[in-house]
Symmetry: C2
Subunit: 357 residues, 2 copies
């Protein structure tokens, strides 16, 4: 049976990424060696690293003065690396969800932290809009897409202080103006690569301003100076990222992805809004185009388990909502085709036909 | 042409690890989903995590009271995580090479560091034996195998304070008495898995004794409490590790590996000692059974490039020595068969026949 992977992460990747990675694991570049066993210092892998960084710069139109680095440890490690490198006295955080809260909590180990606004009281169902960013903060931290709650910042904010963004779950999903950000980071396991890779895009001039000593592996400058090869990088995930970015480029780049993502999001949100069985959980204007959260409407609450089973039988995988929200979550990352979303919509309609009173 | 992979790391892995990982990337457990895109919270991956931890415990005979955790970031990140978690006032380090020096340097950010001995003046060509471990140190740190210089500690040391060991390049190569260690860590990309995975074996009672606040992701207790799933773990490398450990178990476990490793090491060192073209670079009693360093003997120094080319033409890959030592380095990890070492020896003999004056 055809499976549709709606997992929140690790999550659906382009078929090309999957097939080319499997091929390279059996034989990397015709070397008779596996991608898993070649030296990261070899010419062939250096070419992979170089191309992946170049594709990042090209596809996101990253201006001069920024570096792209690849690390291990996940976005969660960035929650402490960001303040380690940038927080001298005070930092501002916008609290829009579980991950934003974790990032904020970590920063408190390093200095004063101002929570400029929070939607926690409403279970993070919207993105706060009215708040003041303290102009004496070292940086302002946002989470552009809240994977768990299905909300998303749809524009690049104007910030009076350096803007730091966790874009783990929406990088490459819409065109962004990188020049508005001082630092962008994220785990790669949503729109990019298998788990185990973290990307950081950082404005070079931002670094070297804190007075604390920084452990070597947590110092962005070390990784920039060493071209992400200070120590052994996660070779296989970087190769996967390169394949995904090649696929993205061949399919029209970020603007084309964005157009497709909007179509996909409209299709599923339209169904949620019109199907009496379901309702969305977020403020309409803040709905994520990557993670679509919905629950059974009040009248049909008792059908949740039935729909879950029905959807599974139809090949829908990873639809279970996060326990913080309940219900369902369809993660429709770049690699999810419109036909996948259509299959889910068909499934919702078929279930409605049988069950609407 | 058959290739023999003597790379220092990432390095040769069992064919089973390579083939099974490639297979799972195309279809994980018959799920019609790729190993690269399944949720780490799913039942199927939990089974992989559980089995990998169990195999660690079984194959290394890890006693009760120890936890095994898997992290990202490489052994280099452990250079700061160890003192973050364990160094309250003073730590002792044995300086046996480049990586030991880096670990020692990092600890200085956290407290007083005593270098109990160093072989740096002799380009780390031996393991110092006569030194005193301060009994008031929080721990004593060693690097059991020095990948770059080809020296190895062949026994489990007795230490009056908790013993911490970087075993990146010799874990699973010989039976060890884990009870003599407080913490063992290493990058997986030598004897275990593709790059991007770090293992930590830690005695639970050792933790929670320092007074400093520890960033969440750098706190071993967080990863223990969350079964290495506090954040998304490196899924593919963990799957690779499980396959390698299954292979290891099926092939007689660590004692059988050790027997084979001794045979392999004897074969190549015997050739180095008897072939007039070559000489070893380390103290004989400290020679590593994992990384075999050798150079051209003085009389034949000018033949280095010729031998390098000759060996490459015979299918030997990754033989170039690290720039700190020069010459050649044959890394003969667990997955290297005796026939691979024999092929290298044949190649050395054939080259000698043509060139010995």
């Amino acid at each position: 049976m055809k499976k549709y992977n709606f997992s929140a992460g690790p999550s659906i990747l382009p078929q090309q990424t999957i097939e080319e990675t499997a091929k390279a694991i059996l034989d990397f570049n015709g070397s008779s060696l596996s991608l898993m066993e070649v030296s990261h210092r070899g010419k062939d892998f250096q070419l992979v690293m170089d191309e992946t960084i170049e594709l990042f710069k090209e596809l996101l139109e990253i201006p001069a003065g920024y570096s792209v680095i690849f690390l291990g440890g996940g976005a969660s490690l960035q929650f402490c690396m960001v303040p380690f490198n940038l927080l001298e006295k005070k930092a501002a955080y916008l609290n829009t969800g579980t991950w934003a809260s974790k990032a904020l909590k970590e920063a408190k180990l390093f200095g004063e932290v101002v929570e400029v606004a929070s939607s926690k009281a409403d279970n993070f169902s919207y993105i706060p809009k009215d708040y003041v960013i303290p102009t004496d903060a070292d940086y302002f931290h946002i989470t552009t897409n809240n994977t768990i709650f299905g909300t998303e910042l749809h524009t690049d904010l104007d910030s009076p202080v350096p803007l730091v963004a966790d874009m783990s779950s929406d990088i490459f999903s819409r065109p962004i103006d990188v020049s508005k950000y001082a630092l962008i980071y994220g785990g790669a396991q949503k729109n990019l690569a298998p788990a185990g890779l973290t990307f950081v895009i950082v404005k070079d001039e931002l670094l070297g301003k804190v007075t604390r000593p920084i452990p070597t592996m947590l110092d962005y400058r070390v990784h920039i100076e060493n071209g992400s090869m200070f120590n052994t990088p996660p070779v296989v995930p970087i190769y996967g990222a390169m394949q995904t970015l090649r696929w993205l480029k061949a399919n029209g780049g970020v603007p084309a992805m964005y157009k497709r993502n909007i179509e996909k999001a409209n299709l599923i949100y339209n169904e949620i809004d019109n199907n009496p069985l379901f309702r969305g959980t977020c403020a309409v204007e803040d709905r994520s185009i990557m993670n679509v959260c919905f629950v059974m409407s009040n009248e049909y609450k008792d059908l949740e388990a039935d729909f879950a089973q029905f959807a599974t039988e139809k090949g829908m995988s990873g639809l279970k909502g996060h326990r913080s929200v309940g219900g369902f979550r369809a993660s429709i990352y770049n690699a999810m085709p419109l036909s996948g979303v259509q299959a889910l919509v068909d499934c919702m309609q078929e279930f409605a036909k049988k069950n609407v009173k």
